[in-house]
Symmetry: C2
Subunit: 346 residues, 2 copies
DNA sequence: CTGAAAGCGCTTACAG
DNA sequence: CTGAAAGCGCTTACAG
């Protein structure tokens, strides 16, 4: 580790110093059993002495392989995606891959630009959580047939592998939980109707209500951007007319926490006079006040799963596209409160 | 965009199809004005027709440049780092660089491994938020003299650029705010004594207290892992003996939110009978219940700044290492409550 | 304005 | 067990 000059130390430098060919040094690097033990030791000492750093890009170019996987998500400041990215990166690192990060900020145009840029770095595969409004054909034309894509979270009809959360079933579980506690006027709060995950969650909610003989009223369906702040701002919409809902299934936890905050600001208490269920089980859900009843999606585990699926696809490029459904689990905490006492809020 | 075979389309393919040399096609790609307009048009049509994707790795190898920057952080599931990473990625993408992600999970050993792996991908520079207990000499030996490093958040005596938060001043601001509200028994809550950012924040806290003629008692100094959950568990330590503190400066927002939750669990209300100030201003701070008074570090802006600093270093490899201090700003919200009424909680 | 040639740092049959 | 040679996909002086 001499305080060497700026020039990169290459295989050729090591070969020269050891009076060997580059081929032999390369064999040492790749751990070939062909090399004589003494030669190996000499080379390894010299590698260390000169502070050699393997140039994986050059090797990959020659071998026609890639050791990178691109991860394209909406935005890391959404904790769900941060956890997801964390899981992806962890699993990829374990498998010897490096993660190339890209954020779309939920913009279809930025998504095209980001993908185009990442593709130039020759990723072995892509994990893509599509921006809202993505056009499958356009994406497919951009990515081409050589790079496998694992789509996460939002369906995309592009013939790629798909890892989906069980949105429908999760929302059913949430709604049935509230019905079981005696609620009859249950809102579906937050999210945009045109997002596929939101549509699926609403469908599960409607199905559970229908089975209980209930048709949701317009006032029970409140849209909002899927952020805490926006959700907090919309709370008034639930209470414009009596009788107002007594409970809400929320599009996600961010929205649920916003709803809780908005209720507090209006002098109501989640878990006491209004029951709230979230979706995602982000880390804050367990420690918010009150702790949030929610549907666990375990984004970190989903990240690991996405990494595993894309790596598996690299082994079997010609297998049929797979659809994987990640299970949803109800986590009961305080925000959904206790059973409604008969005759309480009518 | 023909549904082409699996083989990669290269410059050579385009050159052949256009009956030109690879050199000319390369000039088209790089936008050289030398090429005749007609030739350019022909080439560009063919590039599109065959779905050509530029292989930046090969070009970089030949040109001896790199278009990647490595970002090594503790963990994306910490929202502070998620925001930071988001800002880094955004600014790097704008400058035409791609972000290589690495997480240490606060382990010095994983940090060595992650860096070694990332270095093999030949990053132009590294943005490193060092794991606790990092050894500067060991890191320097690993990275070598060729790759510039921008250290973020925790000081590291390795002769690299350093972007630091103004921890000392921030904690002073927080403490003076509480003193100004009439508090005299002010705790410093959370964090580990051996982390440099924690030491600096404590020093600012002590300095402000000293200036008010106050010496902190042992009971006022509570250590905890810097997470919400751990912080919530330690709350009892503040109240083991009377008189207990009436306010706390927290190591960071995660800890502050944990403290708020712990207080609630013990029947106390942050902002009413106990004043809480956080540090970082993570997104939740503004929307928690109660909203958190805190020191804004604006991690996304810090991320952009870190990216700018490392890119600037690439232009001036031989300039002296720079230390940049990012300003701290007090954000007053509800968790620090109103002025103590004289004679209230003694 | 275009082409022939060399080379970035590595690997991999193929000889010996 | 080791070496000479070709080649991955690109760029860049240098000629013409």
């Amino acid at each position: 580790m001499t305080a060497s000059p700026r020039r990169r130390v290459t295989l050729t430098d090591i070969a020269k110093a050891c009076e060997l060919s580059r081929a032999t040094v390369s064999l040492v690097l790749r751990g070939s059993p062909l090399v004589h033990a003494d030669t190996r030791a000499r080379v390894e000492a010299e590698l260390k002495r000169q502070g050699y750093v393997y140039h994986r890009g050059a090797a990959n170019l020659r071998r026609n392989v890639s050791s990178a996987v691109a991860l394209v998500i909406n935005d890391l400041s959404n904790p769900f995606f941060a956890e997801f990215a964390s899981g992806v990166d962890e699993a990829l690192a374990e498998a010897g891959y490096v993660t190339l990060l890209g954020s779309t900020g939920e913009s279809v145009e930025r998504q095209q630009a980001v993908l185009a840029s990442l593709l130039e770095h020759d990723p072995a595969g892509i994990i893509l959580s599509p921006a809202e409004g993505s056009d499958a054909a356009r994406l497919h034309a951009l990515v081409g047939p050589r790079t496998p894509v694992l789509v996460f979270n939002r369906e995309l009809d592009a013939g790629w592998d798909f890892l989906e959360l069980d949105n429908h079933h999760g929302a059913r579980l949430a709604t049935e939980h509230l019905l079981g506690l005696g609620h009859r006027r249950i809102a579906f709060y937050g999210g945009h109707r045109d997002s596929s995950s939101c549509r699926q969650r609403r469908a599960g909610y409607r199905e559970a209500l229908a089975q209980a003989g209930i048709t949701p009223e317009p006032q029970w369906l409140v849209e909002s951007a899927p952020t805490r702040l926006e959700a907090a701002r919309q709370v008034g919409a639930l209470f414009v007319r009596d009788p107002a809902p007594t409970a809400a299934v929320c599009y996600n936890d961010a929205v649920a926490l916003g709803l809780v905050a908005g209720l507090t600001a209006r002098g109501r208490r989640a878990g006491h006079d209004f029951a709230v269920v979230g979706f995602d089980d982000i880390p804050e859900a367990a420690v918010s006040a009150p702790p949030l009843t929610t549907i666990a999606a375990d984004p970190r585990a989903r990240g690991r799963q996405a990494a595993a699926l894309v790596l598996q696809r690299l082994q079997h490029p010609d297998a049929a596209p797979a659809r994987t459904v990640a299970p949803a689990r109800l986590m009961v905490r305080d925000s959904s409160g206790h059973a409604l006492t008969p005759g309480a809020p009518r």
